[in-house]
Amino acid sequence: MADARPSQPYPGVVLAAPVTVPYRRYSHQPAHWWIGCALRALREVSGLEPADIDGFCVSSFTLLPDTAVGLTQHVGLSPRWLDHIPMGGASGVVALRRAARAVQCGDARVVACVAGDTNQVNSFRSMLTSFSRFSQDASFPYGGGGPNGSFALLTRAYMDTYGTTRETFGRLCVAQRQNALAVPFAMMTRPLTLDEYLDARVIAEPLHLFDCVMPCAGAEGFLVMSEDDAKAQGLPYARILSTIERHNAFPEDPIQLRGGWVLDRDALWSQAGVTPAAVDLVQTYDDYPVISVMQLEDLGFCGKGEFNDFAAEQTFTNDGTLPHNTSGGQLSTGQAGAAGGYIGLVDALRQLTGQPIGNPVPDAKVGLVSGFGMINFDRGVCTAAALLAAA
């Protein structure tokens, strides 16, 4: 076949109304409650009534047996456009892509994009046991380590192949912790030193305690609508410069050392008309620091395997160079299930619209949000990224 047509831009489509339902370590409330709280927050922030929302996009792991379908009746929405994105850490960017096209093409006027999960004492384990067929057949029986086991192997391979050091991973974690200290509901409330990071107890070699996220309950959301509607509602908004998405890239790689971004990053930058140097803040999907490193390398912030040197020149803090995971990311603020796929996007939107939840990134104009999701068997399958710009 001939080359694919390039992806079209998103003129006149914006995102607005970033909301976060403050996280809690455990919750006896089901996912429906958390998603409901996010919708209520969207209503309060935007001034839009349920009848104004004609598009609805949901991501959640703990909603079963419901999907977005059941939720429409539960929350009393009658949308003419509905989607359910089961892509874990890629859910936020993918939801944005879907919703933006719906608005752009007139299939919906205002799309509420929401992700939320509860965290009951047993829900993490029960989610793992039924996470995917491949993990059930070929991963979970090998120690039941869940993501810790899988990412330990990826981290080991990454370190062996590229020489990325624990100190480098630690620098990212320490900086994120710094960013999280200003977030009132973050799971982690104390500063983290590099020594503490390095000396933490082993979880699954080479992963130690602070390489792992803390599961929690929470929800995130935002609205996608036309620029005109955002203006009419008086909502601060951000534009979409470009987006990419890829699934099951490089299936022939025996172990994951790269992600789908490698295939699509040129399209991402060229459509946006910017280079990494123009980016004021980066939100990576940080379930483990190795994945953040992989994203930053594969999206072109530095060459493959060069992250040790690159990191040495950055602070990654909101008040420094290359602010990264500006609300603390999942590693410090917590992983609220599928909301972990939204946290970076929602905080990028806050930063670009001048309403940060924690410390502001000064003069933030361009933000990059990257997503990575679903260890279906031995590697993350979904990758996505979006470049956003302040209005």
Partner: protein, 401 residues
């Protein structure tokens, strides 16, 4: 126990693993090997995926030692080593990694791949060092995935026959700490008794599987000390269905081969289930010796075949009963044995020494199914290919394949 849930294709992997066979799906159309188990070829979308024997070699690309787990079974057995292996065919797989496998360097560490069933009864892949290492079978993870007789106490339910005796001696030689040797009707002498009596750590115990009280009494005495039970009690008589006069022989066969097994299950089963997680030298396996003609009736031994078919059915039920506790059920299928009741049958026949060796090896390998001897393997292969054809083959020439 380890996570037991599997897809239907995953169960096929397990079914091969239970026989000790490492098989992967190969596309019948394009030849692509795939893993994890699938329903459709990821290369050409054919659904003609065939389970083919897989090369037992690969390269360990990355390993980790888990110190935490969401699974209680593994949490109690931490630390636990697992790793990513690139199989010879190019597919990636996760495996339990033997502690003697060196840490992978650049380019990966060559490993030998084998399959086991874990305590949930499902198949798993284990990466071993390429060459055997000293005492490698005693390694914690591998022992957890086997049912080795070493350091365990083994009940052989009937040692009146050469087969029971060979097993008792072999099991002891293989390192069982103690062998309980069941003797029914002790007032009836039997050849080999004296040799058994002088053997170290082999204790003759009164056990008659046709008698509930006898089984109950022995279970009361040693049920809590039995780590492996090998049921050698067997009653075999030649004879067809129509040609045999009366039911006495058939009932005797059922009484030993079927009801005897049921009595053992009812009285020894609960005690063994209760000790399945009892440290390193725990209750691990139940072994049934079954005629291969349990699968398809051998008309010359029609009622014997039927009683073994009943016993096989019971063994399947027992496997389900034992599954939650982690006790394996190993069915060893054999053809005609070198014994007085198979005298009219021409060779090859299974000798006591061969059977004993195979049982001990199958336990070491943690198998759930083993087929011993040329005839039994031939029958099994035919049965797997087409049971209806096998039935017709067995009706020809008096049924001796």
């Amino acid at each position: 126990m380890p996570p037991p849930a599997r897809s239907r294709a995953g169960l096929a992997f397990s079914a091969w693993a239970a026989r000790g066979e490492f098989r992967l799906q190969v596309c019948g159309d394009c030849g692509t090997t795939s893993y994890p188990p699938r329903d459709v070829c990821p290369n050409c979308w054919s659904s003609r995926l065939e389970w083919q024997p897989a090369a037992p070699t690969g390269r360990l690309l990355a390993d980790t030692v888990l110190h935490t787990s969401t699974n209680v079974y593994f949490r109690e057995r931490m630390p636990w080593r697992v790793g990513t292996v690139e199989h010879e065919s190019g597919v990636a797989l996760l495996a339990h990694i033997h502690s003697d496998v060196p840490t992978p360097a650049q380019g990966g560490q060559p490993v030998r791949l084998t399959v086991r069933t874990d305590k949930s009864g499902q198949g798993v892949i284990v990466a071993l060092p390429v060459e055997d290492t000293p005492h490698m079978n005693d390694e914690k993870q591998l022992r957890e995935l086997s049912a080795s007789v070493r350091h365990r106490r083994v009940l052989i339910t009937d040692v009146r026959t050469d087969f029971g005796q060979a097993l008792a001696l072999k099991v002891r030689e293989a390192g069982a700490s103690r062998v309980f040797a069941g003797v029914a009707e002790p007032w009836k002498p039997f050849p080999g008794r004296d040799a058994l009596a002088t053997a170290d750590h082999i204790e003759q115990v009164s056990l008659d599987v046709t008698q509930g009280d006898s089984v109950l009494e022995l279970a009361g005495a040693i049920g809590g000390k039995t780590d492996i039970l090998i049921n050698t009690a067997s009653h075999v008589r030649p004879g067809s269905t129509v040609g045999r006069n009366g039911l006495t022989a058939a009932k005797d066969e059922m009484e030993t081969n079927y009801f005897g097994l049921l009595r053992l299950l009812q009285f020894f089963g609960p005690a063994m289930q209760g000790r399945a997680a009892d440290g390193d030298n725990n209750a691990v396996c139940w072994v049934n010796l079954l005629s291969i003609y349990a699968l398809s009736n051998w008309p010359a031994y029609a009622t014997t075949s039927a009683s073994h078919a009943a016993a096989l059915s019971l063994a399947q039920g027992a496997r389900a009963d034992f599954q939650p506790s982690g006790i394996k059920v190993l069915n060893v299928f054999h053809g005609p044995l070198e014994s007085e009741w198979y005298q009219p049958v021409s060779p090859p026949k299974v000798t006591p020494a061969k059977l004993a060796r195979v049982v001990v090896d199958a336990l070491e390998a943690g198998l759930e199914e083993k087929v011993v001897g040329d005839i039994a393997q031939d029958v099994m292969a035919r049965w797997q290919e087409n049971p209806a054809v096998l039935e017709r083959e067995l009706t020809q020439d008096g049924g001796a394949l």
